[in-house]
Every structure is written in structure tokens, then in C-alpha cells.
């Protein structure tokens, strides 16, 4: 049973809109200083998260990245709790302990965004291996960027998944840049070529087209679920905003204005769904409520700063012990 909120085109549009509006609100909150530290906006890449998650079942899992809001929302996380997390409030997904880069909801199979590029992939492989060993039908989607293609641990993970025939779908969101570095000058060979070289079926899809992504992801999920092992999807996409909200300060010019404009013309949210306007309104209301929830959530008590440091309950010695 696929994710109910992504079951039809309207649901997928609705979730993409939710992500976009969420990111716009987050940007505002960063600018106003409400969100400390900033975020990596997902705007422009919505079709990837939504297309992939549309192929997943509720019990399936995912690992995410520094640019994780889209993945987390697409899998079904509560936007109010994600906003509260960005605010560092106790009502946040992680109780305010993780922030934008570590948002997780294990109850939904969201094994966490991750601050280290490439780090999610081997975690996905291990999670998938464990599920497979126990005979569970779980498939794990692992999202990462083009920059992660040059991380050793990710390349090791492709091999490990391949020889283990682990039920993983590797999703490379190739948005053309790792921060300021063009993928074209950083990635020798090709993304799909690399996966294929490890013995993993790979295909490139239009990452601005949610239905194309969903179709390809569907094939990959089906292969994983039926014991066919991992697959690799390269989704060609683009981020509409800065790498990180902090980038504004630098006035960087690594992307030509025409390039940005031409990708913006391919906005994944462009739609001729008749109910789009109604959905947009609905999303706006939902987000307003989410914002209300987040803003009303309490600040954590500094006395709890080391809570959860050890799952076993060990309490660490204080840094000012006398």
C-alpha cells in the first residue's frame, strides 16, 4: 500500500506545494531571525522527493541529507513538528535537538537527515540489510546530491548494496552543483555509469517531472521488494534558491542568471490540475496552522541539554563539575 497522501496526482501536487510553501516560510523565518543557523532550501527539487516517496509504502524507510525538508515532508512528517524543529522547540520532530539538518521521524521510517554528505547511504544499506534478514518487505530510499557521488563512503555503499542485493533505492538528486562546484567539473565519468560499474541498474530521469520520477522509482522499488537488489536513479533537477540561506551574504555568481531562469521555467509545480488553486489555499491554511503550532511550542529547558545523549541513560559528567 503506497503512501495515501501521494496516491493520486492531486496528492502529489499538494505535497509538492506543501514543500514549496514550507520552504518559503522557512526562508522568511530565517531572514527574520526566528530560525537560527539557516537552512538548505529544497525549492525546485520537489518532484524528486515526492516522486520517489509516491513509490514507497508507509513501512518503507529513507535516509536524507542536509537539504532534507522535502524528503521528510514527502514521507509524511507533520509540517508543524518540522517547523517546531527548525525553531528548536520541544514540539519539534527531534524535540529541538536536531534542527533542519537532522530532522527525523522514526515512526514514519525517516531515519534522519544528515549533516555529512554521503553519510546516509551506508546507513540505508544497513537498514535495508537488517529488514531483508528478518524477511520484512521494507525498501529503503537513500537520497543524496551530486556532490555525494565523490564521497568514498557512498561509493563503498554502492558496492556493499550490490553484493548484498540490499533493497535500497539510491536517489541521486543531481542539481548540477555541490555548493559552488559544478558537477560537470567534479564528477569524472557519469553518475549512472558509476552505479552501473558496481553492478547496480541505473537510470537517469527528469527530476522536474514528478510522474517520471514516480515511474522510475516504482520500477526500482519493485525490483528491491522482489529481491532484485538495489537500483540507482539520477534525477536531473535544480535548486531554485541559494545552496544555504547564508549564501546571500556572499553575492556569489557561480550560476548564470539565464541558467536559473531556464530551470525555473521547468518548475515542477507548474500544473494544469483544475483543483490546484483550491489545493494551494488548503496548503496555505495547513501551513498557517503548522506555524501556529510551532510558534506555540515551548523552548527546551537548558537543564535538559544532555538528555538522550546516551540511549542507555548514562548521564555525562558536567563540564563545570567542581
Amino acid at each position: 500500500m503506497s503512501l495515501p497522501h501521494l496516491a493520486d496526482p492531486a496528492g502529489r501536487y499538494r505535497t509538492m506545494r506543501l514543500i514549496r510553501s514550507f520552504e518559503e516560510l522557512a526562508l522568511e523565518w530565517v531572514r527574520s531571525g526566528l530560525v537560527v543557523g539557516g537552512t538548505h532550501p529544497y525549492s525546485g527539487q520537489e518532484a524528486v522527493a515526492v516522486g520517489v516517496c509516491a513509490a514507497l509504502d508507509p513501512a518503507d524507510q529513507l535516509t536524507s541529507t542536509h537539504r532534507g525538508h522535502g524528503h521528510v515532508l514527502a514521507k509524511g512528517a507533520d509540517p508543524g513538528r518540522l517547523l517546531a524543529e527548525l525553531l528548536g522547540r520541544v514540539g519539534g520532530l527531534n524535540g529541538g535537538r536536531g534542527g533542519s539538518m537532522h530532522a527525523a521521524d522514526f515512526s514514519l521510517g525517516i531515519l534522519g537527515a544528515n549533516g555529512i554528505v554521503g553519510a546516509g547511504a551506508p546507513i540505508a544499506v544497513g537498514a535495508a540489510w537488517a529488514a531483508q534478514r528478518r524477511g520484512e518487505p521494507t525498501v529503503v530510499a537513500s537520497f543524496f546530491g551530486d556532490g555525494a557521488l565523490n564521497q568514498g563512503v557512498l561509493l563503498e555503499s554502492l558496492n556493499l548494496a550490490s553484493i548484498w542485493r540490499a533493497p535500497v533505492v539510491f536517489v541521486c538528486e543531481n542539481n548540477g552543483y555541490a555548493t559552488t562546484l559544478p558537477a560537470a567539473s567534479a564528477v569524472g565519468g557519469s553518475a549512472c555509469g558509476r552505479a552501473a560499474a558496481f553492478g547496480i541498474p541505473a537510470e537517469t530521469v527528469d527530476g522536474m517531472d514528478v510522474e517520471a520520477v514516480r515511474a522510475a522509482a516504482g520500477r526500482a522499488v519493485e525490483r528491491a521488494r522482489s529481491g532484485g537488489g538495489p537500483s540507482f536513479l539520477e534525477c536531473l533537477t535544480y535548486r531554485f534558491e541559494a545552496h544555504h540561506t547564508m549564501e546571500r551574504r556572499f553575492r556569489l555568481s557561480y550560476r548564470a542568471a539565464e541558467e536559473v531562469a531556464s530551470w525555473r521555467e521547468r518548475d515542477p509545480l507548474a500544473t494544469d490540475l483544475p483543483e490546484a488553486a483550491a489545493i494551494d489555499l488548503e496548503v496555505a491554511e495547513l501551513l498557517a496552522a503548522a506555524a501556529g503550532f510551532a510558534l506555540a511550542s515551548a523552548e527546551p529547558d537548558p537543564a535538559t541539554a544532555t538528555d538522550h545523549l546516551y540511549a542507555s541513560g548514562l548521564r555525562p559528567r558536567s563540564g563545570a563539575a567542581l
Binding site: 520532530l93 536536531g98 540505508a124 544499506v125 534478514r133 540511549a311
Partner: protein
């Protein structure tokens, strides 16, 4: 009399854990062949699906262990060389250790990493002879260094059952130790030190294989002084209560620790003593030099590790 070797004790702890809990599994290089001494016979007994020979991808298989742990497994990772811990430092310090707090307690990572043969194995030279337990203790990962077969059994058992990541150093210098075991083997709690020899004049805190050296020196000096030998067993979290209690009786401290001196485990013991105890004499550390890299030639390798003479000198110095 049943003489149990240290290696065999670890093997038995792992076998018992695999037997008791289907969530336990092993990832490591050549674990099927049991090359490192930890796993002989286990793949035959529990299958290659639970005792898994992995490719030379330490970073990926360690993090795969994290992923498996997040999904309810209790993986044991075997690393053949202590310095492979450097290679997976990101995975242990930045991922495994941080998951619980960063997720607000949603996740736990019950991962055990074992290095069977840490420190110098004669003739393995600079890249194979490290004893980097202090790094993990500093980062805050539970860090164990059993000295005896029963403690090796007991601490490995506890590590596997623990809900946090644990790194267990089995010093090469202890792997050959044998013990006449009469009582049943049982888990040893993490965080509990052990007084191997009671004494009233000086407390020698000894780590891993050096516990045996310390006991020999204590025996040798029995006519001169009453030496207490305290084995922390768990380096982090340190059993401060046991340390403070012992120092309260002896008032004198020597730490013997086969790792680099600067900001190592011994430094922490001295710091705690300085903060919490009134010592009668300046404490002493017997360690490797600062920044030590063990040279290959045996005489040079030995020259950089704590030896009995240094320990004797240090004990005598604090007794002066």
C-alpha cells in the same frame, strides 16, 4: 582446572550473545576464517548471514552496522587493526555517537566495535600498533579495555547488550593471558573498576595488558611498599568513585597506560585526582611519549611502551 584464554573468552562471549539474541550479528573482514581470533567457528555455527565476511569497506560496513542497529539489530563490528578505528572515526564519533541525542531520543545505536589485538604486536610497525582508546573516551563513546579472560567475556557481553555504541580494545599484550576459570562467566557492568590487588601506600591505575605488569611490579615491591592495583576496565565512563576511594586510602597515584601521553587516559586520571583528592605526592604517569609512532625495530618499539622499570621508578618517586 579449565584454562581459559582471553581470545577464547571473547569468542565465547560472542557465541553466547549470538545464541541468546537473534538481533546480534557480526560484520568483519575474514570473520569466517576467524583470522583475528574473535570469531573462529562462529560462521559455521550461526551462518554467513549472521557472521558476515565483508569487503574492505570499513566506513560503509561500520555505517551499515549503524543502519542495522537503527532497525533493531545489535551488530558487532570487528576491525583487524587498531588504526582502522581512525578510518571509521566519522562513522563512530559523528554518526553512531550522536544519533540518540540528535534525534531527541528516537534512535538508539547498539553497536559494538571490537579490535582484537590493539597496541603493539611485535613487528607490525607504525600503522598497526596504536592504542587510541583515549580518542573514543574523549569523544564520549563507551570505551572498554579488559585485562583478563573473565573481564573480556564479561565486558564484551555487556557491550553487546548496551544500547549505546561501545568500542572494546583487546590489547595484543593480553590476548595470550590465560585464567583458571571456576565460576560461571557472567557480564561485567560497564563503568565498574576492579581492584586486582589491595594496598595502602600507592594506587597504581593500570590499563589493559599493563594490569599484569603492574601486578608483577607490585609483588616485586611488596617488601618496600603496599601497592594497590586498580584496573578501570571501562575507560569511559570512568569509575571515579572507585578511583577516589582508593586514593583516599593511599594518597599516592601512578597511572600506567600504553597510549600517547598528551591528553590521554592517564591525563584524565591525574586531572580527576587533582580535582577531587588530596594527594600526598605529585602523581606520575607512565605512558608512551607524546605523539608516539612505534618504530618497526623491536628494541625501538619496546622503548616507546611503558615498561616495568619505569613503573618501579614512578612508584618509588611517589613514595619519596
Amino acid at each position: 582446572m579449565t584454562l581459559l584464554s582471553y581470545a577464547k573468552a571473547m569468542n565465547r562471549a560472542l557465541a553466547d550473545a549470538l545464541e541468546a539474541d537473534p538481533a546480534v550479528c557480526v560484520f568483519g573482514e575474514d570473520v569466517g576464517a576467524g583470522l583475528a581470533g574473535l570469531t573462529p567457528g562462529l560462521q559455521q555455527r550461526f551462518g554467513a548471514g549472521r557472521v558476515v565476511d565483508v569487503p574492505l569497506s570499513e566506513q560503509a560496513f561500520t555505517s551499515a552496522g549503524i543502519g542495522a542497529a537503527l532497525n533493531g539489530m545489535r551488530p558487532v563490528i570487528e576491525l583487524q587493526i587498531p588504526s582502522l578505528l581512525f578510518l571509521v572515526f566519522e562513522q563512530l564519533a559523528n554518526q553512531a555517537h550522536k544519533f540518540s541525542l540528535m534525534t531527541g531520543g528516537q534512535a538508539r545505536v547498539p553497536l559494538t566495535v571490537v579490535v582484537p589485538g590493539s597496541g603493539s604486536r611485535s613487528g607490525w610497525a607504525g600503522q598497526h600498533s596504536d592504542h587510541p582508546y583515549g580518542l573514543f573516551a574523549h569523544v564520549g563513546i563507551k570505551t572498554l579495555a579488559p585485562a583478563t579472560p573473565t573481564d573480556a567475556y564479561g565486558l564484551l557481553s555487556s557491550a553487546i547488550r548496551d544500547d549505546d555504541p561501545v568500542v572494546l580494545f583487546a590489547p595484543a599484550g593480553a590476548l595470550g593471558v590465560r585464567e583458571d576459570v571456576t565460576a560461571p562467566l557472567v557480564p561485567v557492568p560497564i563503568g565498574a573498576a576492579r581492584v586486582h590487588r589491595a594496598g595502602s601506600d600507592v594506587t597504581v591505575v593500570a590499563v589493559g595488558h599493563l594490569v599484569h605488569q603492574a601486578l608483577a611490579v607490585a609483588e616485586e615491591l611488596a617488601g618496600e611498599a603496599s601497592v594497590e592495583v586498580l584496573d578501570p576496565r571501562t575507560l569511559y565512563p570512568l569509575d571515579r568513585a572507585a578511583l577516589v576511594e582508593s586514593l583516599g586510602r593511599t594518597g599516592r597515584l601512578v597511572v600506567v597506560d600504553d597510549s600517547n601521553r598528551f591528553a590521554g587516559f592517564a591525563a584524565e586520571v591525574l586531572a580527576v585526582a587533582a580535582e577531587e583528592c588530596r594527594l600526598l605526592a605529585p602523581p606520575r604517569r607512565v605512558t608512551r611519549p607524546d605523539g608516539a609512532v612505534l618504530p618497526f625495530a623491536l628494541a625501538l618499539d619496546r622503548a616507546l611502551q611503558p615498561d616495568a622499570e619505569q613503573l618501579r621508578d614512578a612508584i618509588r618517586a611517589v613514595l619519596k
